[in-house]
């Protein structure tokens, strides 16, 4: 006969949480061990009582009182809607104001606005070209710096030798992993708080 099961296993068996092999072993044991059979019977009755404890009664108007205590909802509006409405309103007000001051028709106002934007674009294009050139030069300088960094790393690894390089890379990876887990833990704590 196998040894007597732990009381914890009796509960797990009754909850269906014991694996099939362990459950069969327990059943076989209980058949030939009167003490364990009694212990299982007792816990079966207790388990039945544990799992049929009555629920607490809730007053019928409880949900209503909860709803009454809630603050007004902050309805999530589409983020693009407010700026769009503001832009259209500003345009309409601008057109109406222009029409009022100059006496021009809406069509004429639109032509005037169009020519205004045309002149703005004409002035802005050379500026944009210059900004593009400056950006290009900055990119080149950044590229040269990166190349310099790589050649420095090459020199550094030659000085360290293969074992030193492996050690430095290993330490770097370890620090990265620690930083990543630290950040995740920090973020999780932020969620919980």
């Amino acid at each position: 006969m196998t040894s007597c099961p732990r009381p914890a296993d009796l509960y797990l068996y009754l909850e269906g949480e014991l694996g099939p092999y362990d459950a069969r072993k327990l059943e076989e044991h209980v058949e030939c061990c009167p003490a364990c059979r009694d212990a299982l019977d007792e816990r079966r009755l207790l388990h039945e009582a544990f799992t049929t404890l009555p629920p607490f009664e809730v007053p019928g108007d409880f949900a209503r009182s909860v709803m009454d205590s809630l603050p007004e909802p902050e309805v999530r509006k589409a983020r693009w809607l407010a700026p769009l409405v503001a832009a259209v309103s500003a345009l309409a007000v601008g057109l109406a104001g222009f029409n009022l001051f100059t006496g021009l028709s809406v069509f004429e106002v639109m032509v005037a606005v169009n020519s205004f934007f045309g002149s703005v674009v004409a002035q802005a294009t050379p500026l944009a070209a210059k900004a593009f050139k400056i950006g290009n030069v900055l990119l080149k300088v950044a590229g040269d710096l990166v190349a310099l960094g790589f050649s420095g790393l090459g020199t550094f690894s030659r000085i360290l030798g293969p074992q030193g390089t492996v050690l430095v890379i290993g330490l770097g990876a370890l620090l990265s992993v620690l930083a990543l887990f630290g950040a995740r833990r920090f973020l999780r704590q932020g969620e919980n708080s």
Binding site: P7, A35, F50, L53, P55, F56, A63
Partner: protein
Amino acid sequence: MTEDRQLVSKALGGDRKAFEMIVRKYEQPLTSYLGRMTGEREAALDFAQEVFLKAYCSLASYRPAFKFSTWLFKIASNHMIDHWRKKKLPTVSIDQPVDDGDGPLTPQVPDPGPSVARKFELAEIRQKIERALESVPEALRELFILRHVNEFSYEEIADIKSLPVGTVKNRVFQAKELLRKRMEAS
């Protein structure tokens, strides 16, 4: 589960009816949990209201990858912890085996003594359990309630309490054996 997610999504869009459906769905399990944790019905209803309010205010932080019920009960559990901290109720360390006066409660071979459970009918046993439950340390009681009253799986309880599954199983077992011994002594 999907229904919960849809209700949460609607509630986030400003649909108060959707949140009311959530309240109606969880008012009883939540009150049963809080009621057995506090031992007072009125306090349980007040706490339940506060938990629903907290849930409503932080609904945007709910992630649909998780079960809504475990998220809600996590809020309820934290609410209870805050309450105990404020009241500064004495807490019992559950890292050590529970001592109920008859020596430490550790796994043992079933004793062949007279059966306690058979002495009572099921209804009587339930009454005795309710009474004995009040004397069980809250950390064990909570896990017992989540398992047997709210019928969460051990994995879900581990999620709610941020504990390993093995620890949850062990503590639920400790709670049950403690209840059994308390009933035996009564």
